[in-house]
């Protein structure tokens, strides 16, 4: 275990936490969504095929998988090895993750009676293995640990559809035609999420990211009416936990002002939205994270670094800025590319941002 003074030092000197506090960072911090995962040979060596949920329930393994990318890449933050459906699985809803497919349930959420399947959840009790993983990690890591959870809409979409979906047909039908039922589901998921996130903070998580990955499937009007209140409840709670929160979603360009209004301190952007434009729209108090297209990381190193340079230039006007991809690392990614990327961002990030600022 690090001593508390070591921990304090780590926190105050962490470029990731500095940027997340909207302060200048000694170097541009960088981490990757899904940095722990199938793109790493050491990950594939440790984790047998089968549901990710089994690995999550094994604290020693989950901690090791969390640490692997920190050791390999030298990223500025670790992100807990877990999954957005962990708490609803732990509540006993009956949902699993099918490798290569995603979250699947044979009994989707369809009616009021299904709310009872989410009735019993106590994060400390039902997800003790997650707390244990966090505690193990806090004794090992020299960088901050990001805890996370799925947001109500995104988790609800899996429960309602029963499988990954393209058009969110059943989800949107319920949202519009049975708004009370949909609202009750999202409210319950918000409660579960808050409990789950609070537990991670008590166990030692230094920051929290809320994945509302699929919320960009909604129009701004739908988001404000049916989803925003529940996300705001979660960020209100995060505010009381004493750690910074980050919101992430794909295709959220039209939702950014609404997402900012949830109270999140930081927004992770996918690769579609230019950082400079988001900065102008959201103002100087919002920390931004992103947004290199993960597909670019499958290209040659020259392309990867040249595109990363463009992202850094585009980030120049944003004070609190964290480099990341615009979505998760693709399994086909060559770890050498990400290593070169981290080295590049660390070595040249602040200089490029400075030039970008002077050039703008």
């Amino acid at each position: 275990m690090v001593s508390s003074s070591d921990a304090d030092k780590r926190d105050t000197e962490s470029p990731f936490l500095a940027a997340l506090a909207n302060q200048p960072a000694s170097r541009v911090p960088v981490w990757f969504m899904r940095q722990a995962g199938r793109s790493l040979p050491e990950y594939r060596a440790l984790r047998p095929d089968g549901s990710i949920l089994e690995a999550v329930k094994n604290p020693e393994l989950a901690a090791e998988l969390t640490i692997q990318p920190v050791q390999r890449y030298g990223v500025d933050a670790a992100v807990l090895y877990s999954d957005i459906i962990v708490p609803v699985h732990a509540a006993g809803f009956g949902v699993d993750i099918v490798p290569g497919q995603g979250p699947v349930t044979s009994q989707p959420f369809r009616e009021v009676a299904d709310l009872s399947r989410l009735e019993h959840f106590d994060a400390d009790e039902d997800c003790a293995y997650v707390a244990k993983t966090v505690q193990l990690l806090k004794g090992e890591l020299q960088v901050p640990l990001i805890g996370f959870a799925g947001a109500p809409f995104t988790v609800a979409s899996y429960l309602i559809e029963g499988q990954p979906t393209r058009n969110f047909i059943r989800t949107k039908k319920m949202m519009h035609d049975e708004p009370d039922l949909f609202g009750a589901l999202l409210a319950r998921l918000a409660e579960i999420t808050i409990d789950f996130l609070g537990m991670q903070v008590r166990a030692g998580a230094d920051a929290l990211q809320l994945f509302d990955s699929w919320v960009g499937a909604l129009s701004p009007r739908e988001y404000r009416r049916y989803v925003f209140p529940h996300v705001k409840t979660i960020f209100d709670a995060i505010g009381t936990f004493g750690v910074p929160g980050i919101h992430f979603g794909v295709n959220t360009s039209d939702l950014l002002e609404s997402i900012a209004a949830t109270g999140t301190k930081a927004i992770g952007l996918d690769f579609r939205t230019e950082l400079s434009l988001a900065q102008r729209r959201l103002g100087p108090d919002m920390v931004l994270q992103g947004n290199l297209d993960p597909t670019v990381c499958l290209c040659g190193e020259e392309t990867v670094l040249s595109e990363a340079r463009q992202v850094l230039v585009d980030s120049a006007s944003t004070r609190g800025y964290i480099f990341n991809l615009g979505h998760g690392v693709l399994p086909e990614t060559d770890p050498q590319r990400l290593l070169a990327l981290v080295d590049f961002v660390h070595a040249e990030g602040n200089a490029i941002r400075q030039v970008g600022l002077e050039g703008s």
Copy 2:
């Protein structure tokens, strides 16, 4: 055949063409992307299972399928029954449409030599059946006929990936790592597209829509660099054809200013982007089309009309406005919903827009 004076009358009195000319329309014009399709029982009755390309090659059948939704719904425009891969299929590239899956090729575009598979294309010769369908329709229709084509990026993505894709990995890799090859492919597809669209206009099409459905998979920087020049070439050509052009794509919110710079007269928006915001960004000269979420049309009639009302209110500040969905009609859609929607837009559209304008 209608006489030329009838045709003139139809054109000048067409609410669709008036709106597309950015003029006030006697009623809010409405049509639906994929209005001809599996959601209609009369369509399913006429078309056997199998590739849509066979139906497209049968002018009498294709004309009948084009007319069906006009007769049933009373929409303000017909859209040619065709597919975005028709011209590359006709060029002999070797691509087909697998029902329930989409465009598929067993020999994807991978190298310079594959350009020869697109070398020979003459729209008049290779797509004579399309011209014949248009000519048949012009003798039957009382509303304008929209011709269309797929845009270079979207068509290229099918040719490069070999099948529908989620991440456009191979497409983006080629774009970044082999920009000359990618550029040559898009340039050739632009030539084919221009030939194909020009032929439709010569046969009688009254307006053209360019489907760059998947271009929202790109960042604005990628779009401007690798795709914009080819789309601009197409809209430059459409400008010489003497008919108005419409651009459509999904997830294009971050690209709108670039798309406007292609010279298109009108932009079709998906349901994510608010019409009023697009209007402010693009100015009073841009005609807008859209953008009710097609998934909403699977909900109850009350929901459909209430959401349509919101779209109409949101359109109030846009002078030239065409009601449409934010993407194609879903096969599961009950035609009764679309009929109610057309009646509603026709009966109340202009009044709702007027109130919206006064309220803004």
